[in-house]
């Protein structure tokens, strides 16, 4: 019997014809491919008893078994059928032979009974009757041949019958023999059958084959599969890499076998499958002592009993640690790539934005600049217009126009400053300056435009050096901004500045933000009071006069420095030289600007220094301003390496503190030594300012000059004066050239006023001037008053710049003092500065030379040559600046480049000559250069200004011909490049 008829023990469903999942080669004969494969059989641990139970109880097991049985039965039936057929065959043959025998016997009986009577009576006549016909025909397949008995004897003779009987006898014998043979064969066949088709043997053989296949397939596969019963105890497990003994696993649950993360999870998962009765897959990561960290993909299916109850689970696990690791790596990589992509786009965007911002800033700067120039033209023209005869309405309109223009200018200046700082274009200059002077000037200018009853005070500690090095312009700007802010938000009480030396702050070393705390403030207050007591001596008027001169000089400097980088100031040059020679140290000076104003709520502090931010919209409406001031201050302070902080209490006041590093040239400490300052034009006058430690200014509410309209003004100003202050305060920032001019004027008027108060006998001309102006001014105010309520708030906020010039700036100088040791010197000064003839005498000793030149290299060369020749010179860059310089100060010699931007040398010369001839600047005004009214005070001999020598510097171009030079009022011309020789000749010829 061949086993190929039998199928394997694979579950019945996989034997489906269509889509066979498993194809097992059916071995033929000894063609067993598995023979050569060594199969290690240990890994399988089988609880046979349970397996039998399983096959008994579970559907699948029983059906499998049923199938096997059926199959076996079928085989048996087949064998039985075959046997039975054979048996039938044999029995038929036997029947036949018996029949034959019977026939023969009959024949014999017939023969005998012929005499004795036969059962059948056969007629003799009936010869054709043949009994043989009744014998059933043999089947063709019957091996017994039907042979005719051949008898030689003659029919129906005795011999014949004898012969025939013998024949039949033989035939019977062979038949008997055959029967015996068949019987034996049958016996053998049955025996054989019994031997071969034992079902157990066959089944176990099949099982073994299947087992072998399984082993062959699974021998190195990283799979574990098993069966667990309802309590999740292992009943069967296959594991190719067994690390536990059979007894350690069977009958135990996962949790009992090993511990670690994931074990519980798998246990729970299996339980879940049992509960739900549905197969499921899950990935579980194990972290056990037994096999370390591994991830398995686990498939669990429930096993049901015939009654449909869950009696256990089959589970299959595959080690997918590597795959998981790879997958995770892939995910991580993908994530990283995504992050990188995101970053990249972010970067790109940032770059784009930065570029855009830069472009926008540049654009803003350019635009501001472009807007400013024509606007300043408009504003200055409007200012000129105010001096002409106008009717009331015109004047009023003009005032609005001016104040609006001023506001726009201020805004543009702020923006320009900010964008300069932000784009890093802002350059700081190092110049030597005197902190006391700066404080005093700023306070004085603030007092000049003060519109309310406030005390302005300044304290400078003893340890602050007389002179320090820093960017005075910017520092002044910060200070002015903070003070004007303080004034703006303070309605009564005082606004003050304190200056004292502090040790190097921590942020300078670590860059951390300092918090201005109350303790330091307290300390400083103590400091101040101490100083107040020790230095309170009346200041002589000479101080003010000295300051006057210095102020003048200072504003000229501002003037030219307002365009950084375009010129080399000789003062700067001096400083740098000194820096090279003298040892210097860095000193940190703290400046507190305090007020008793409305204070700043705490929640507004963080945004205080942000651009366009004000404490609230209400404040912006009430107090005006752009919200740029503090942002600029902060940026400037930080640009200089310092910190700006604020502390404030609502309704009590605010204190803005900035700490800045300054370079201190050690020799400067003895700067009160006159020799040290011999190269300074007005050192004598400034000395006292430089060392004064306490200043106080108060607005005189009802100045005698304005008594007629004082009351109405006060009324108007108290609620609305803020904008006015603002509009005024920006005038001292020194941004634009127009502003500079205002500044000059303001400072001059301040000085003038002081002069009046201190020297009444000498002030006829001066005092008459303010009277005239005040008349105009009064008119202004009057009109303002009338319309203030009717007009929009912008008008309230604004006020005419004209008024700012002649505000009753009669400040009371309460604490001016002079150290006794310098008394003598200041006396000298006061005499010398009584009138400006001093300047003339100065110019004799030291000629004042102005170089007007736009080319940096030429400036540098000429300046150095002049220095070698023993002259320091002032430098400006174009014709307009030249005119302004002449307005500020008289020069003995002007070296004028002909071809310059903005205004060329020829026109500038014409304007200067026009002034010298007429004594007024009308021509300059026509050309758009604002006229500084108080400059008159510096030209006391107003009869006729002296003629300044102007020498043209030409490049020998046809447009700069000598004829043109002479025609425009130049005295001589020199061709460029300048040489020592040329300069020397020039100076010898034109300077006495």
């Amino acid at each position: 019997m061949d086993i190929e008829v039998l199928s394997s023990m694979w579950p019945e469903d996989i034997e489906h014809e269509a889509g066979k999942q498993f194809n097992v080669e059916k071995p033929r004969g000894d063609q067993d491919m598995l023979e050569e494969v060594t199969i290690v059989e240990e890994p399988t641990i089988v609880d046979f008893q349970h397996l039998i139970e399983l096959t008994n109880y579970t559907d699948k097991g029983s059906s499998q078994l049923a199938y096997l049985v059926k199959h076996w039965e079928y085989k048996q039936a087949n064998a039985v059928r075959l046997l039975r057929e054979e048996l039938d065959n044999l029995s038929r043959q036997r029947q036949e032979s018996e029949l034959k025998k019977l026939e023969i016997l009959e024949e014999h009986r017939f023969e005998e009974e012929r005499y004795g009577g036969d059962k059948r009576s056969i007629s003799i006549l009936d010869g054709i009757y043949d009994i043989l016909q009744e014998v059933p025909r043999r089947k063709s397949n019957i091996v017994v041949p039907s042979k005719r008995v051949e008898i030689d004897a003659e029919y129906d003779t005795v011999i014949y019958w004898k012969q025939r009987a013998m024949h039949l006898e033989k035939m019977l014998e062979t038949s008997m023999q055959r029967e015996q043979l068949l019987k034996e064969k049958l016996q053998e066949s049955i025996k054989n059958l019994e031997k071969q088709s034992s079902p157990v043997e066959e089944l176990s053989q099949i099982l073994k084959r299947a087992d072998n296949f399984l082993h062959f397939v699974l021998q190195t596969a990283p799979v574990v599969f098993g069966h667990q019963d309802k309590e999740l105890r292992y009943r069967f497990i296959f594991n190719h890499f067994p690390s536990l003994q059979e007894e350690d696993i069977l009958g135990k649950t996962d949790v009992e076998i090993f511990t670690g993360s994931g074990v519980k999870e798998s246990q729970d998962f299996k339980k879940e499958v049992i509960d739900k009765g549905l197969p499921a897959k899950r990935e579980i990561t194990f972290e056990t002592e037994l096999f370390g960290s591994k991830t398995f993909l686990i498939y669990v299916e429930p096993v049901f009993s015939k009654a449909g109850e869950t009696i256990g689970i089959n589970y299959m696990g595959m080690d997918i640690t590597d795959q998981v690791r790879k997958r995770e790596k892939m995910i991580k990589l993908r994530e990283e790539i995504a992050v990188q992509m995101a970053k990249e786009t972010e970067f790109n965007r940032t770059i784009h934005i930065t570029e855009e911002t830069m472009r926008a800033k540049q654009m803003l700067a350019t635009m501001s600049h472009e807007i400013r120039s024509p606007l300043s033209g408009v504003v200055s023209m409007a200012e000129i217009l105010t001096t002409t005869k106008l009717d009331r309405e015109q004047r009023q309109l003009l005032n609005v126009m001016l104040s609006s223009g001023d506001l726009v200018l201020q805004l543009i200046n702020d923006i320009l400053d900010l964008s300069k700082v932000e784009s890093g274009v802002m350059k700081l200059e190092s110049t030597k300056f005197r902190p006391r002077e700066v404080v005093k000037h700023v306070l004085q200018t603030a007092a000049a435009s003060l519109q309310k009853i406030l005390t302005l005070e300044g304290n400078v500690a003893d340890d602050v050096p007389i002179e320090v090095i820093g960017d005075v312009l910017r520092i002044r700007q910060i200070l002015t901004n903070l003070i004007s802010n303080a004034i703006k938000f303070t309605h009564e009480g005082k606004v003050g500045v304190k200056l004292y030396v502090v040790p190097e702050p921590p942020f300078a070393k670590e860059g951390s933000q300092p918090v201005s705390d109350g303790s330091t403030c307290n300390k400083s207050t103590v400091n101040v009071s101490k100083e107040e007591t020790c230095t309170s001596m009346p200041q002589t008027s000479s101080d003010q006069r000295g300051y006057h001169g210095k102020k003048y000089e200072g504003s000229c400097q501002n003037h030219s420095q307002s365009e950084p980088g375009t010129l080399v100031k000789n003062g700067t040059k001096d400083v740098s030289e000194e820096q090279a020679e003298l040892p210097e140290t860095t000193m940190w000076i703290r400046c507190d600007v305090y007020d008793t104003g409305i204070g700043i709520p705490e929640n507004a502090l963080p945004t205080l220094f942000k651009k366009y931010m004000q404490v609230s919209a209400n404040h912006a409406r009430k107090y005006g301003g752009t919200g740029l001031g503090l942002a600029i201050c902060k940026q400037l302070v930080e640009l200089m390496g310092g910190r700006l902080t604020v502390s404030s209490r609502v309704h009590c006041g605010s204190t803005f503190t900035f700490i800045l590093p300054y370079k201190v040239s050690l020799s400067c400490d003895n700067s009160d030594d006159p020799d040290d300052l011999s190269d300074m034009d007005d050192h004598g006058a400034t000395n006292d300012d430089a060392s004064a430690d306490f200043f106080q200014f108060q607005q005189r509410t009802l100045g005698s000059l304005f008594s007629s309209n004082g009351s109405s003004r006060t009324q108007r100003l108290l609620p609305h004066n803020i904008g006015y202050c603002y509009a005024n305060s920006h005038k001292f920032n020194g941004f634009s050239e127009t502003k500079e001019m205002d500044f000059v004027e303001d400072s001059c008027s301040v000085a003038e006023a002081v002069e009046i108060s201190s020297e009444p006998e000498n002030s006829f001309r001066h005092s008459s001037d303010p009277h005239n102006e005040s008349a105009i001014c009064r008119d202004n105010h009057h009109w303002n008053d009338e319309n203030a309520e009717a007009r929009a708030s912008t008008r309230d906020v604004s006020s005419c710049s004209e008024t700012s010039r002649d505000v009753d700036t009669k400040m009371k100088i309460r604490g001016p003092q002079l150290p006794p040791k310098r008394q003598e010197k200041s006396d000298n000064c006061s005499q010398s500065t009584l009138n400006s003839s001093q300047e003339v005498s100065n110019s004799i000793s030291k000629p004042k030379i102005l170089l007007v030149e736009d080319n940096k290299i030429n400036v540098m060369v000429t300046q150095n040559m002049m220095k070698q020749l023993g002259h320091t010179i002032d430098v400006v860059n174009n014709g307009i600046e030249a005119v302004r310089a002449v307005q500020c100060r008289s020069y003995d010699l002007i070296l004028m480049d002909v071809c310059m931007p903005v205004m060329d040398g020829l026109q500038a010369t014409r304007l200067i000559r026009s002034f010298e001839e007429t004594g007024n600047w009308d021509a300059a005004v026509k050309a758009g250069i604002e006229q500084p009214l108080p400059s008159d005070s510096l030209q006391p001999d107003c009869t006729r200004p002296k003629r300044t020598t102007i020498i043209a510097l030409t490049a020998n171009a046809s447009s700069e011909s000598a004829d043109d030079c002479f025609a425009n009022g130049m005295d001589s011309f020199e061709s460029k490049p300048v040489t020592f020789q040329k300069l020397k000749v020039c100076l010898e010829q034109y300077l006495p």
Binding site: I857, N858, V861, M865
Partner: protein, 150 residues
């Protein structure tokens, strides 16, 4: 002759600059301005010159890209450039800029372009030579540069 080889080399370089016409007497003027207080004056001025004129050249270049030429503008730039160049005694550059201005006046755009190319060449050469010169000067020591050839 100087004993210091560095200084000798410096003098040779300087002489060749004059001999080849790169520099003129104005440069000597600058050198005369150099003293103890301003030991590097010449170099400072020359550095300033190159920094400042680079901008001008760029301006001119940009102006030359726009057609038709704005000869007034070109002339203005070149005026500045020429002034600077003559101040430091850059003879050849100055000569080219003079020519350029003449072309400007006659409205010869072709000539302007040509001259400007030539000018840039001269300018670059001068820059290279002066840079080398000052480098040697720095190596030779601060005092040497102040020495005037006599």
């Amino acid at each position: 002759m100087e004993r210091n080889p560095m200084r000798r080399q410096l003098q040779v370089m300087r002489k060749s600059l004059f001999d080849q016409g790169y520099l003129d007497e104005q440069f000597v003027q600058l050198e005369e301005l150099q003293d103890d207080a301003n030991p590097n004056f010449v170099e400072e001025v020359v550095t300033l010159y190159f920094r400042d004129s680079a901008r001008l050249i760029l301006n001119i270049e940009q102006a030359l890209e726009r057609k038709p030429f704005d000869f007034n503008k070109l002339d203005g730039y070149m005026h500045q450039f020429k002034g600077s160049s003559s101040s430091i005694g850059a003879k050849r550059v100055k000569a080219e800029s003079t020519l350029f201005r003449e072309y400007c006046k006659s409205g010869n755009g072709e000539g302007c372009m040509r001259t400007f190319q030539q000018l840039k060449k001269e300018y670059a050469t001068l820059r290279k030579k002066l840079e080398a010169y000052f480098q040697v000067a720095r190596q030779a020591g601060p005092m040497e540069t102040a020495c005037r050839p006599k």
